[in-house]
Amino acid sequence: MDAIQMTIDGKQVTGKKGQTILEVALDNNIDIPYLCYHPRISKTGACRICMVRVNEAALKTSCTEPASNGMIIDTDDDEIRELRRSILGMLLAEGDHNCLYCESNGECELQRLCNRYEVPMPAGDMPTRQRAVDTVSSKGLRRNENRCILCGRCVKACGEIQMNSVWNFTGRGSSTALTSDMFAQLGDSSCVMCGACVQCCPTGALSFQTVLGRGQAWELKKETSVCIYCGVGCQIDFYTNKEGKLVKALGNADGPNEGHLCVKGRFGFDFVQSGKRLTKPLIKKNGAFEEASWDEALDLVASRLSDIKSKSGPDSIMAFSSAKCTNEENYLMQKFMRAVIGTNNVDHCARL
């Protein structure tokens, strides 16, 4: 590793060669504001919020400017603050940003920065452009482009993380807008509902249908868990509302999924709190299922398996395991079949 020594806001910090100024700052807990940058996608350099002063002279976007040895960086001064305030004001004026009606209220990055820089409400005397509002066509995702700041995170999340490239910009200049596929409604597009775009969206332009009307950002409680759908073991941050209902799943950046989820992990959690879910063992007696204790159920299974094995041999039994179980559970299952039952008849749903 080639270390870089530089000064940010008077503080001596260390970075790695190949990092940008912003990356070095973030690694050193120095807060430079940004909107188009996101650690999981390639650099854009378009929002211009992260401008810093380099070597007491030029202003550069810290998200794109390579860090180099001996650099002196100022992340804040009057001119920088004024520029950030102006740019944020332009964004507010361009769209329809009414936090009262926005499901991102409380976790919106634009809102947070407008608060930090004390950006006044736009005077309403500049032209705005009506863009697409598509809240119903997709079962998982909602789109309200009037809250979009065209940062491009969704475009890159879809193209670089999910590699699906559903999103792109179309139009040009002040008429720039998002398109999904070839000018399609989101629900009619090739979107696989992984939700990567929503998770990256800094505003309320993209949101999950599951959370709407079921709690506001600051009311939700987060709990980290492991996805039960396959063996990757993605870490998920599950959010429950005040009533204790699961309403949202976000990929956790520390898991092997590095923040990403598929449609199952993202939306397949309604069964958890379903009334139809089995919570106790059932034994069929006289043609109907009746509740039983775990001891009773396990004894029955053990005795029936022993009977079958002694009458028809171990190869008359097979076990079929599930991808929803952990690797350890699946290991135990095949061990049980081979060592206890004595057969190689083991299979798994993920192979099919």
């Binding site: 040009r172 200049g173 070839m182």
Partner: protein
Amino acid sequence: MKQETINKTIEKFGNSSEHLMLILRDLEVGSGKNVLDVQTLRSVAELMNIPESAVAGFVGFYTMFKTEPRAKFVIRVCKSGPCHVMGATTVFDAVQKHLGIGIGEATKDGMFYLEKCECLGVCSVAPAMMINYDIHGNLTPKKIASILNSYRKKRPSLLESCGDEVAGKACIIDEPRQTKRLIADIGKIDPLKIESYLATGGYESLKKSLATEPGKIIDAVKDSGLRGRGGAGFPAGMKWTFVGKGPVQKYVICNADEGEPGTFKDRILMEENPHLLIEGMAICGRAIGATLGYIYIRGEYRRSIERLQKAISQARDKGILGKNIFGSGFDFDIYIKEGGGAYVCGEETSLINSMEGKRGYPRFKPPFPGGAGFNNLPSNVNNVETLMSVPMIIEKGADWYKSVGPLNCSGTKLYCLSGQLNRTGLVELPMGATLKEIINVYGKGMPKGRKFKFAQVGGSAGGILGKDLMDLPLDIDQPMKKGVTLGSGVVLVCDESTCAVDFLLQILSFFEHESCGQCVPCRVGTAHLHHISKKFASRTAVPGDIDLLLEKATVMKKASLCALGQSPIMPITTMLKYFRKEFLAHCDPNHKCPQCDRSLARYYAGRGH
């Protein structure tokens, strides 16, 4: 569109996304209605294995394409600065009168569709329009009627048939006092015949440089003091040294996306002496170790595209392009890429994205193209005029080249004269000519004895020069000291009849139209500037709006990603320096201004603005 046609077109060009522009252009012309319908585009995406969204994004970026049916012939009327001051509104009037259609409308018989567009690069014969790919200038109502009638029997084609008045030769001012270097052979050689170029000593400089060490070629260009002629004035030889070394593919890219309103020099050079450009590029290739060259030509320049394509074929046949040129062991070939109607693609990194079949968004720098350009490989991008200056430097030496022009700005410069002058066109003068000389000697003064009001030098992104700067040498460095710029060499002259507010409105509507929309200050800022200038034009502004213009343009100057967003401050501040009073007068709702009225009524009526 028939599937078979789509298949064949893709087969003809190849299915790599870098050919998207040419494929779509071919399909649009073939549609007969100037349309790329969604079904066709989906099919193209599938066959080329490009995401549908990428094709939708591409088509949406380039204004020459449209996904809704237009008509057999699209009439694009230029409304950029030079055409505007020469009466573009009257062209719209005449088309409306003759065909009964406004902007964004088609005639009932499906024959014509009317659009407004930005600069067509024939500014000395303004006002101008383009019908499909044919450009016509010096328009009068009578002429427009006869041109339109002549199209009723024509079939859409990619072979241009422009009016005689836009021919390159015809756009050069006939005045012996010039220092003819780049244009010396124009008119003497036949641009369609390589033999004609060879007979005047053509390709001798290339031969000479093939026998010279690459480092020595770069030294010669450095010594000559040649600076980029596209507008930024960066030393060409130094740029060449920035190109990455080592055994990787390198590219020479010629920026022929001449889009700065008022500029038409590159078009004339390419149309009239295409082999000189090929020679310049090959020498550059030799110097930087590139074996491939690309010329990115704006889509409106059909004649340049055709003539260069022909010249490239002829050069290949003669063994001047291809493998082992002149038996030297050096390989070099050139291909043409086309633009689709986007001013921002003149910015070198936008141009490279566009070459790759992407939206023409500028890239952040670093990395610079010299390190990671086309296909992320080392690329050197130079303007047409710059590359065409190279052969003469090799032939006659750096000292000869430096013998004209001031220190640090050596050589000649092509100045493009347009606007309200008695004589407009191209002149070649030693770098550093003054406005006074250009106007009085070459432009022969203002028509009808009217008085000079201002000149915009450098194109829409350039500054306004008043009487006080008449003696300012228009080289690369002197104008900057006065807050203006030489840019690409545009001299657009406006006499006292021009309204400053109306003129600024055209500039600022141009920037909104041409902003790529990627970075916030430019995307939102250009829209706001346009809106505020419209308030002045409609006399609904208040004096404080002047400060607002300056404030927003200042934020754009400091924070925009590329030069487009950094530019509007210059025309705004320099215009206000001279004509603040006019802007204040326009704050009075009772102030009369027929020019502003006409612009508002013409350019903002109808659909699609």
